[in-house]
Symmetry: C2
Subunit: 417 residues, 2 copies
């Protein structure tokens, strides 16, 4: 087991153990947010035929040579193109056909004049422009041809991808399974949120924040509940989490004498990979795994609420995203101007909770008050985690810093473009 390693090494060790989960078949409608485990080739041509991109009139361009607002030209409207079907006959010279967006261009026509550039007068339509060749015509296969690879394995399914799958007639897709995470709280002092907090007992609130972090990362959490500090209780409850993909315990795995978690995990077959990462908050984080993937990846997170959230964010979140098949597994980062000076001892990377403010094209960052790892409130006010590098001892006010975005929506302007 390694101890006192840097954040980068710890991240490497956890990601080394994380693999995309096996595919499953789901209906496309259930696939939102999932990641494709297959590539999608089209069996269709889209649009299936040359079609109109506008509501208007299909014409022969030569008939409108020289037409303008000052000198409109009128053509008889001889038929209407049915939506989703072929026209009964071709368009002859000197004729116009009423057409709607998406309807197939009749034989003979080579351009569309949109509604807005026309005026209907009885059975004739006055055209105020001379269209370009094939203007407002979408070519058959412009979007998709048979055999095109439309989506690649590894693509995440968002609205555009789901619309695309529907238009190809794909109602079932192979996607990576969502990771299942078992969350365990450990400690004799803990009660559930609706429990009695008298006598110095505190709520096992980490189970709630960690479960929400799982959901945000697209995983499925289950709460194993609160284990008491006895080997028997721990073995029973940890054992209940062994069929999950990831087992997260908060508190428990530490150097404390009360720590029965490590021997129980080892008895269950889990090998501890590291304990202790040079970071703040969150030094006492442990990571273990089973030989030959015979059990879940195991994270022993610190008990302090902020430490638990930050270590989850740095190590468990990328693991869950990788298991779900995603390639972008880290938090988005931005550069920001730090509004105040910061100091620390070298040797640990600090994740400093910061509130962000937009200032024209620049972003300003200031700390969210008390940075104690017990003060969860500092997380509720933070839009980002400032990276205060391991070996640095100070950052001057006005410096540019890297900030991991916890809430990318924050980048939105208050006013719209």
């Amino acid at each position: 087991m390694r101890s006192g390693i840097d954040v980068a090494e710890a991240r490497m060790l956890v990601l080394e153990a994380a693999h995309p989960l096996a595919p499953e078949t789901v209906s496309a409608g259930q696939g939102q947010g999932r990641v494709l485990a297959e590539s999608i080739q089209s069996e269709r041509t889209l649009p299936p035929a040359d079609c109109s991109a506008m509501d208007g009139y299909a014409v022969r361009r030569a008939d409108l040579a020289g037409a303008s607002a000052a000198r409109p030209l009128a053509l008889p409207v001889v038929f209407e193109v049915p939506a989703g079907g072929r026209s009964a006959r071709a368009l002859e010279p000197g004729e116009a056909a009423r057409i709607f967006t998406g309807a197939p261009i009749p034989d003979g026509a080579d351009s569309v004049v949109r509604q807005e550039d026309t005026e209907l007068e009885g059975e004739r339509v006055r055209m105020r422009i001379e269209p370009r060749l094939r203007e407002h015509i979408r070519d058959a296969g412009e979007d998709v041809r048979v055999g095109d690879e439309i989506l690649a394995a590894g693509d995440a399914l968002g609205p555009a991808q789901l619309g695309m799958l529907a238009s190809l007639g794909r109602t079932l897709v192979r996607v990576h399974r969502r990771p299942r995470v078992a969350v365990l709280s450990g400690g004799d002092e803990l009660v559930e949120a609706d429990g009695d907090p008298s006598g110095g007992r505190i709520v096992a609130s980490n189970a709630y924040s960690l479960a929400a972090q799982c959901v945000e990362a697209g995983a499925i959490p289950s709460n194993l509940g609160i284990a008491r500090d006895t080997p028997e209780d721990l073995e029973r409850m940890l054992g209940a989490g062994l069929d999950a993909d990831v087992l997260v315990s908060s508190a428990g795995v530490s150097v404390g004498d009360h720590d029965h978690v490590r021997p129980v995990l080892e008895k269950l077959g889990c090998r501890l990979v590291f304990w202790g990462v040079n970071m703040k908050p969150g030094y006492p984080i442990a990571f273990g795994r089973f030989e030959d993937r015979r059990g879940p990846l195991v994270f022993g997170l610190p008990g302090n609420p902020v430490s638990a959230m930050v270590t989850f964010d740095q190590f468990v979140r990328p693991v869950l995203l990788r298991m779900a098949g995603r390639s972008r597994i880290f938090r988005p980062t931005v550069r920001a101007i730090l509004e105040e000076g910061l100091e620390k001892k070298p040797g640990r990377l600090h994740f400093v909770r910061v509130a962000l403010e937009r200032d024209g094209h620049r972003i300003r960052a200031r700390t969210t008050g008390n940075q104690s790892s017990g003060v969860l409130r500092s997380m509720t006010l933070a839009q980002g985690l400032l990276i205060f590098p391991t070996e640095a001892s100070s950052i001057a006010a006005g410096s540019e810093v890297d900030v991991q975005l916890l809430d990318p929506d924050w980048l939105a302007r208050e006013t719209a473009p």
Copy 2:
């Protein structure tokens, strides 16, 4: 009814009609992603008593004056502080007490030496440092005091907020209702995704992408299905959507002769506010509302797949976010370097689909190929929408441009910090 208005005016008109929905009470566990309709005052002090921030030993600081790694000082370990309870007696001078993270500081102790700075020798512990006063002690109420406003009405419930609510013992919260959106497709040429596409019929794929956009915005979509181009069918199907908060139809509301939507809506009591916005893609978008909020907000989106998605994104999405109680309702924007020159006619704001690439601290943007509003594939490849302003006619390669981020995760570095 207004026609041919600019994007900013259209946005103002739709947002003027959008209000946060009435609150409902949900269990905190079901509250993730919802927005508080009440402020949360604490009825608890957190931590409830002075407590240890570390596993280690509670001491009287004066007993360790001058202690160092070179000259450690040893104290007898006289008792262990029970987790979640008071110690049986106070710490006397010259004594140490075993303590674990979160446990209450015994009377008499004024500092904690963490485990890593000690060495246990039988019943005595050697301390390698002289702690500062109250080092590693969290003060009672450091996080929260009784009566503190912990969360404000309008705060969104993320992991930190849910952990905070749990620690306060709040299991029920008042949040804004999620908007319900009825999605209707209109057109004789349309079939469902599993329908027969022969004879030039096409899948009503907008219903799928729009439903997914609703879900991404936290709303609850329901698919009304495909209405045929008859007043009777439209009246029946639009009528089925009148109890929703928002009614979205794709295609239908246009200047086309086939458009029975507008008269049907008017018959049902809906007043059209505007038709036609100076934008591309998406000019033929319509917006209507009912007097005295007696019906849903109604959006008639264009039928072209990209136009439907982009107009939803610009107008329906902020409306849904405002209904859900959110204050940041627009897409995050970033500045990017445009890699190619762009030209257009002045008079319409263009939303250009772009792929983004990170280049150190800069972001580079290039168009995702064919920008036809029928080509949904260009949306599947886009991470952002470039704003090509209404009155501009060209943007030179190398210029800085504003880009709305469709996928903020894209801002992540490939490698971790």
